[in-house]
């Protein structure tokens, strides 16, 4: 018989923890030695006893108080969600109450009371003005909240982290006070308002900021280095604007320089000796670009009558009853018009493409020059009849939609991960889901309309409609993700299922002939899923 194994070997053997090569030797010995055999039995019983004793008391810990509350740690996601919510509530609250109800609604009411025929321009003017003023104020106050919140949270985290390592209290207070030093966002924005008077930036004045000007009459004779947003009955620009010009007014007259793009909506828009480096976007009853004016980029103009005597360096696109071209177009002319006239001095370097009632709608004076071809594309109405499936634009557009929906979906599921657990179990269930969706689709606008009748309910109604529109968009995304997960049930993550599901939903909604109906039904099912989720969420939180 071999020698007895030592106590360590025996103990490890009883615990089943000896390496395999050592086990054989011990087993051989134990097979012949009854003393050791008994020793192993005892040791194993001891292990069982220890297991049992240690664990049994764990069932009833003597000194354990009641189960303490577990609070989940706040994650960045929660923070983002909270911030978004705060921001949205802030924004909606301020916007709706102040702008819409506080001022605009009262304003409109008093206006209707005082004049028989409401003056559209004043109304639009008031609205745009409010929007600009309140909008920028809100934006900055929200920015403040976010920046301040980040600073506070940051310094609290720093304190929590370093306090353990013996950070002196003075430093803690310093850290807490840090947010107080937060710079108020510099006002790189000037807002001037003079509802019944005149705002003039005189010839010798110069401003570095982006300016928002709202007045009965706005005159810019000096220099502005930023953008200018102006609204008023009459807007005249004879100075220099380095940035973009956005002008809404009854009469907009530009005779100075604009470094960027010009966007304008007016009753009459006139460029006289104007020098615009960028594009011109104009919508007005009457639009004229006179002889000495230059548009450095493209011009896109819509109105009753469009008259171009000056020079457009690139393309001119016009939608108008009559389009008169007597100047120079650097590239092409595209027109949707009742009548197009090319005067004696007209010179189009590229093609002239036009949509009109007849080929004769284009009248070309004897000495007018067109370097390219003249293409008649029939009546404007015919445009819509082309087969959309044959154009590349259609597919690009669908791809863009897919990409946008995918990004929105990712953000949505990141913010509200609970939405990932939705599923359409079977046929009956999806029918019920669609029914629920139909209810939401119809009921929300009706309820919103009813609420809107009471003036106090107006903000609520607007919120409801906004949420409803948002839900319509999100419905297909949620449905797409659900479908994707049903198909790829064994896949990890949300990316691929979301992408594939969205692609399927998009293709289904674009099927020839039945696409419209299919899209409608898919939206219903998606809305139903969303409603189900909200319903469940509300119920769970009530039960908790």
């Amino acid at each position: 018989m071999t020698a007895h194994p030592d106590t360590l070997t025996m103990s490890m053997y009883a615990d089943g923890a000896l390496p395999p090569e050592a086990v054989a030797a011990v087993e051989k010995h134990v097979g012949t030695c009854s003393t050791c055999r008994e020793q192993v039995t005892l040791l194993r019983r001891e292990v069982d006893l220890l297991n049992e004793t240690l664990r049994r008391t764990a069932v009833a810990e003597p000194d354990l108080p009641a189960l303490p509350r577990f609070s989940a740690p706040a994650s960045f996601r929660d923070f983002a969600l909270a911030n978004l919510t705060i921001g949205l509530v802030f924004w909606l609250g301020q916007f709706l109450w102040k702008t819409l109800l506080g001022e605009l609604a009262v304003d409109i009411a008093s206006r209707f009371a005082s004049i028989y025929v409401p003056d559209t321009y004043q109304l639009v003017n008031a609205f745009v003005m409010q929007l600009l003023e309140k909008g920028t104020a809100m934006f900055y106050s929200y920015l403040n909240v976010v920046v301040l919140g980040l600073l506070v949270i940051g310094s609290l985290l720093a304190i929590l982290k370093y306090r353990k390592n013996g950070l002196p209290p003075a430093a803690c207070i310093g850290l807490l006070a840090l947010p107080l030093l937060a710079p108020t966002p510099a006002d790189a924005l000037e807002f001037w308002r003079e509802p019944t008077g005149t705002i003039t930036i005189a010839a010798h004045e110069a401003y570095d900021d982006t300016m928002i000007l709202a007045a009965e009459m706005v005159r810019i004779e000096g220099n502005v280095t930023g953008d200018v947003i102006a609204t008023g009955r009459s807007i005249e620009v004879s100075g220099n604007i380095s940035g973009n010009l956005i002008a809404f007014g009854d009469t907009v007259r530009i005779s100075g320089k604009v470094g960027g793009a010009t966007i304008s909506a007016a009753s009459s828009l006139m460029l006289e000796h104007a020098d615009g480096a960028g594009d011109l976007w104009g919508a007005a009853k009457f639009i004229s670009i006179n002889r000495d004016s230059i548009v450095g980029g493209n011009a896109t103009l819509a109105g009753d009558s469009v008259m171009v005597e000056g020079k457009v360096a690139r393309d001119l696109t016009g939608f108008a009853d009559t389009i008169d071209v007597r100047g120079e177009l650097g590239r092409t002319l595209r027109a949707w018009a009742g009548a197009i006239r090319l005067g004696n001095d007209a010179h189009v370097h590229g093609n002239v493409t036009y949509h009109a009632a007849s080929r004769d709608s284009l009248k070309q004076a004897g000495s007018a020059r067109i370097d390219g071809e003249v293409i008649y594309e029939g009546q404007a109405e015919d445009f819509g009849h082309e087969n959309r499936y044959t154009t590349a634009r259609f597919y690009l557009w669908q791809l863009a939609r897919l990409g946008a929906a995918f990004l929105v979906g990712l953000a949505l599921f990141w913010l509200v991960p609970g939405l990932q657990s939705l599923s359409i179990a079977a046929g009956m269930d999806s029918l019920r889901t669609a029914g629920l969706g139909l209810l939401v689709l119809i009921a929300v606008p009706i309820i919103a309309l009813l609420t809107a009748f009471t003036l106090v309910g107006l903000p609520l109604a607007l919120i409801a409609v906004a949420a409803w529109i948002l839900a319509l968009y999100l419905a297909k995304i949620v449905l797409g993700a659900t479908v994707g997960r049903m198909l790829l049930a064994d896949r990890e993550g949300i990316m691929l299922p979301l992408l594939i599901g969205l692609a399927i939903v998009l293709v289904a909604g674009n099927l020839p002939w039945i696409g419209g109906i299919v899209g409608f039904v898919l939206t219903l099912v998606g809305l139903g899923l969303l409603a189900q989720y909200l319903w469940k969420a509300v119920n769970t939180s009530r039960a908790a």
């Binding site: 360590l8 103990s11 390496p19 019983r45 001891e46 220890l50 303490p68």
Partner: protein, 174 residues
């Protein structure tokens, strides 16, 4: 069920066991309660890494014991927590002590638990890991950064200490 509510159920079900583990490693009191909270906090953060096919106890107990052992290591910053394997081997064997095979009553069980709590850290930690958490020598060895034989020695000495301590209180063990 959302992640939060699923975790809430597990929290309620496992709080006592996790607390038990922390208490056995750290001793009763605030420290063990804090360690338990910290364990669940860490588990919550990495809950997405948890494989539902694996027993939850195994997963959460590993988080808890890792955290507690880290805390204990902090206490022994100057000295080596688990000593030298050879030094431990050189300690005289108390082979004559009777092996514990049963306890007479629940008071004896309580006494045994109290004795475990009084063991030095280097004996108590492997003992709790092996017989409460229920992990193998190899897992203990890699968690504590010592060899498997070292684990065996520490466990053997721990058991010998318990045997001796119970003999000293005659009515407890047999």
């Amino acid at each position: 069920m959302s992640r939060k509510s699923a975790f809430g159920v597990l929290y309620t079900d496992y709080y006592r066991r996790v607390y038990g583990l922390c208490r056995r490693l750290l001793g009763a009191g605030q420290l063990a309660e804090d360690a338990t909270q910290e364990t669940f906090m860490r588990a919550y953060r990495s809950f997405h890494k948890f494989e539902p096919t694996q027993p939850f106890w195994q997963w959460i107990a590993a988080i808890a014991s890792n955290h507690c052992v880290d805390l204990l290591r902090g206490r022994h910053r100057d000295a080596q927590l688990f000593g030298q394997e050879q030094a431990e081997l050189d300690v005289a064997d108390d082979t004559q002590l009777p092996i514990l095979t049963h306890l007479e009553n629940t008071e004896a069980a309580d006494r045994l638990n109290a004795l475990v709590a009084e063991l030095p850290d280097r004996y108590r930690i492997p003992l709790v890991l092996a017989y409460y958490q229920g992990i193998s020598y190899d897992d203990i060895a890699s968690q504590l950064g010592i060899t498997r034989t070292h684990v065996g020695v520490l466990l053997l000495r721990a058991k010998e200490k318990l045997r001796g301590a119970l003999i000293a209180t005659p009515e407890a063990g047999k």
